[in-house]
């Protein structure tokens, strides 16, 4: 039996990058998958087809993770159509390489909003049904930059560190309802927000990484599929580091 047979998952920021890999991994493991996206219709359509080709049901919403009302509607509609939402992966995030000295207030607000407030608003919309059913899996995608002292943009590192705190407090708050909340902190991956890193920073990372290479979206998505499955039943409030051994 596949890991996620009969489950319904919602992945934020699912149309591209790591989110897309997660959607495909969850579908492959038997879950019906919904995702939201903010801009690229073509990517979303393509992903819908890819998910459906695995035999899973799929839904896509053009809704920002900062649109509270939109997220509430998304959760209600998805629950009405799919029956429930068992899994939430708070993946949506943005990064920006800029030193603090040059960081505008708008830069700070944008990164903190999408990465932290987005997780808050989406979780609030989805956990209503999870509490009612007394079960659920929530996984927040953080970053090694939120855990260790690295040369990472300050606002990005701060937002990813915030997700760790968000995870732990929420795990404590809603664990009593059979909902687990965990956090995955990948190191540098081959694509995504790390693609714009200066060579010197990447080289430094690889020097300290025991495997000596960057990770892939697929490797990360495999871990996500296990973390949100019923086989992972006793982990709660944990932050799992996936960095090749830094």
């Amino acid at each position: 039996m596949r890991l996620l047979e009969g489950r319904v998952a919602l992945v934020t920021g699912g149309s591209r990058g790591l989110g897309r890999a997660i959607c495909l991994a969850l579908a492959r493991e038997g879950a019906d998958v919904a995702f939201n996206y903010s801009r690229n219709e073509a990517d979303a359509t393509d992903l819908l087809e890819r998910i459906q080709s695995t035999g899973a049901r799929a839904w896509a919403w053009k809704t920002s993770v900062l649109d509270r009302a939109g997220l509430q509607t998304l959760a209600r509609t998805l629950e009405a159509e799919a029956g429930q939402i068992d899994i939430l992966v708070n993946n949506a995030g943005v990064g920006q390489v800029v030193p603090l000295a040059l960081m505008e207030e708008e830069d700070w607000d944008r990164v903190m909003s999408v990465n932290v407030k987005g997780a808050f608003l989406t979780t609030q919309a989805v956990m209503r049904g999870m509490i009612k059913r007394r079960r659920g899996r929530i996984l927040n995608i953080s970053s090694l930059a939120g855990l260790k002292m690295m040369e990472a943009p300050v606002h990005y590192a701060a937002s990813k560190a915030a997700l760790k705190g968000f995870t732990e407090a929420l795990a404590k708050e809603i664990g009593r309802y059979g909902i687990t909340v965990n956090c995955l902190a990948p190191g540098i991956l081959e694509e995504g927000v790390s693609t714009n890193l200066p060579e010197s920073r990447l080289a430094e990372y690889l020097r300290h990484c025991a495997l000596g290479r960057k990770g892939t979206f697929e490797e990360c998505a495999e871990v996500v599929a296990f973390l949100v499955s019923d086989r992972n039943s006793y982990m709660n409030g944990a932050t799992i580091v996936l960095d090749g051994g830094v």
Binding site: M127, R128, G129, M130, I131, K132, E173, I174, R176, Y177
Partner: protein, 574 residues
């Protein structure tokens, strides 16, 4: 001085078991028939017997307490087609004529509950106990372990109600302590449960000693009620209020007919300045009600009292004694008054208990009287659905047959929503307390969090769900401000969040149930340190403490008749 964060009081511990009911059994040593306490402990069921001859005994009744409780409740379901009385259980009651303790059959007849008793001297008697058998039976499902006082003032030797004061066999600490400070009164109520002698006012020194004994036994008390007689007739009433206004005591409540408040504005202002709360006896709104229950028309005087309380915004609790055929049609009007006035915090309906000097002689039919389900039905009928029968739950901290209640959450638009519309009291049992308002305790903090999550999950499915959530958010913000708060401040904040309707059925010789007395939590504090459960004091001990010809308690003036229960035989040992 009144910061309890800086001066923590010792915690009272829970009883080691949940007291469920009384049940007769044979003493394993001498085979005498003895009434015992059936308790649920560590998943098993025991009967705790106290045999006069052989002392305390313990019998294992069942290995599985959950199953036992289910079977116990099933005993109260009358099989379809059954004709005649259906025996639910037995207990110990009193002969309504001579007050001898008797074994009583608790039977269901026409969906009502009756006691059937047979006194060897006075003959058989019956009394209506509950107008709704289903409510009566299911109330037992609310049984919850009691809490012990810091110290019991009496040793259990002979059993209940002889060792009153409270003894170590008592199943609940004092939730509401009452101190009678005078036997003077300005009314002669036909239903008065007290035999006022117009002989004395309690001195300040004795009062202080009484309060001290209470604090020693309880550590901390949410409130202390001062009553009489009529306490406003006490010449030093404000000295007494000041003496009771201690850090360990949240609120001082004056139980009064309010006549002096209505005619003496200066006196009322002094009450306001003292910080005391007023528990106002208000049984209705027409002349006939007052004449029947209180002896004369008090309509204008009560209206004046209500005006003064409103003008001075004195925190007020209403006490409405409800009697069949007298004032039951005014129950809805009393609820309207509660909901319409901010300074009125709670409403306490008390189906009339016919005992004492007045009540014992009041014309009545013990087979047709108001009981808690009857009052609940009247509330539902007369409030046009604003409050429903399903909004009420038995109070688990007392015996569940003694009190029923509901809390009403104040919504942000000023209207009220009964808690059971958005929470399940069986799940959030800690909300059901013998308290008129919500206290800002750590336990309440956790409970409110759970309630909020549950409500959030069902917000769109339940009536006014979003409004209730907004109100709970407000309550959380103000009840837990992130700084130390005193007991008194905690109470004031809680009072602004919710109101309550209590129904408390005190007992009389017709429906007296020793089982209920066992878990009574409304207690009269005495000057000698004893703290006497209310109905036991009213029926058995008040006469022994006060008035003429009271050297021997009234209930001990008669020799036992025939082969009574072991409890009945206790009387001769006094």
């Amino acid at each position: 001085m009144d910061c309890t964060t800086c001066t923590p009081t010792p915690a009272r511990k829970d009883r080691p078991h949940t007291f469920l009911a009384h049940e007769h059994a044979n003493c394993p040593a001498c085979a005498a028939r003895v009434e015992g306490r059936v308790v649920l402990r560590a998943g098993q069921v025991y009967n705790l017997l106290r045999c006069v001859q052989c002392g305390p005994q313990e019998l294992l009744v069942a290995e599985d307490s959950t199953r036992y409780l289910e079977e116990f409740l099933a005993r109260g379901q009358v099989p379809e087609g059954h004709v005649g009385d259906w025996l639910f259980k037995t207990t110990t009651s009193t002969c309504p004529s001579c007050l001898a303790l008797l074994e009583a059959e608790v039977v269901i007849r026409d969906d009502k509950v009756f006691f059937k008793k047979a006194c060897g001297k006075c003959g058989p008697s019956e009394a209506l106990v509950s107008e709704d058998a289903r409510y009566y039976v299911q109330a037992y499902a609310f049984a919850r372990a009691g809490t012990e006082p810091l110290e019991f003032t009496q040793e259990a030797k002979l059993g209940c109600p002889v060792d009153c004061g409270t003894c170590s066999d008592h199943e609940q600490h004092t939730c509401l302590p009452i101190i009678e400070v005078t036997d003077h009164c300005n009314l002669e109520c036909p239903i008065c449960i007290v035999d006022n002698q117009y002989s004395s006012h309690m001195s300040l020194e004795v009062f202080e000693r009484t309060v001290e004994g209470l604090v020693r036994a309880e550590g901390r008390s949410e409130s202390v009620a001062i009553c009489g007689g009529e306490p406003t007739s006490h010449p030093r009433i404000f000295d007494l209020i000041r003496a009771a206004d201690r850090p360990e005591i949240g609120r001082v409540v004056l139980i009064t007919n309010g006549l002096r408040i209505g005619r003496d504005l200066g006196f009322a202002r002094q009450i306001k300045d003292s910080g005391a709360y007023v528990a106002l006896q208000l049984d209705g709104f027409d002349a006939e009600t007052h004449r029947v229950l209180r002896g004369r028309d008090l309509t204008d005087e009560k209206a004046a009292t209500l005006r003064t309380l409103r003008e001075l915004r004195i925190p007020t609790q209403l006490i409405f004694v409800a009697a069949r055929g007298v004032n039951e049609h005014q129950i809805g009007q009393a609820v309207d008054l509660l909901l319409g006035e901010d300074h009125i915090l709670s409403l306490n309906f008390q189906p009339v208990a016919l005992t004492g000097n007045g009540g014992g002689r009041f014309s009545h039919d013990p087979m047709d009287r108001l009981t808690i389900p009857g009052v609940i039905a009247a509330v539902a009928e007369q409030t046009n659905g604003r409050i429903r029968k399903s909004d009420f739950s038995p109070l688990p901290c007392s015996h569940p047959q003694c009190v029923s209640l509901t809390y009403l959450l104040r919504l942000n638009d000023g209207s009220y929503l009964p808690f059971p519309r958005f929470i399940d009291f069986r799940k959030h049992g800690s909300l059901l307390r013998s308290s008129a308002t919500l206290p800002a305790t750590a336990e309440m903090h956790d409970t409110l969090h759970e309630v909020i999550h549950d409500l959030y999950a069902r917000e769109h499915e339940i009536e006014r769900g979003s409004e209730a959530l907004a109100a709970l958010r407000r309550a959380l913000d103000v009840m837990f401000p992130g700084r130390p708060v005193s007991v008194k401040e905690e109470l004031r904040i809680g009072e602004a969040q919710a109101k309550s309707i209590f129904l408390h059925h005190y007992m009389d010789p017709h429906d007296f149930d020793l089982e209920r007395l066992r878990k009574c939590c409304h207690h009269y504090a005495q000057a000698d340190g004893r703290i006497m459960p209310g109905c036991g004091f009213n029926l058995f001990h008040r006469g022994a403490a006060k008035g003429p010809d009271t050297g021997v308690p009234a209930w001990a003036k008669h020799a036992p008749h025939g082969s009574g229960t072991a409890s009945a035989r206790l009387r001769v040992v006094t």
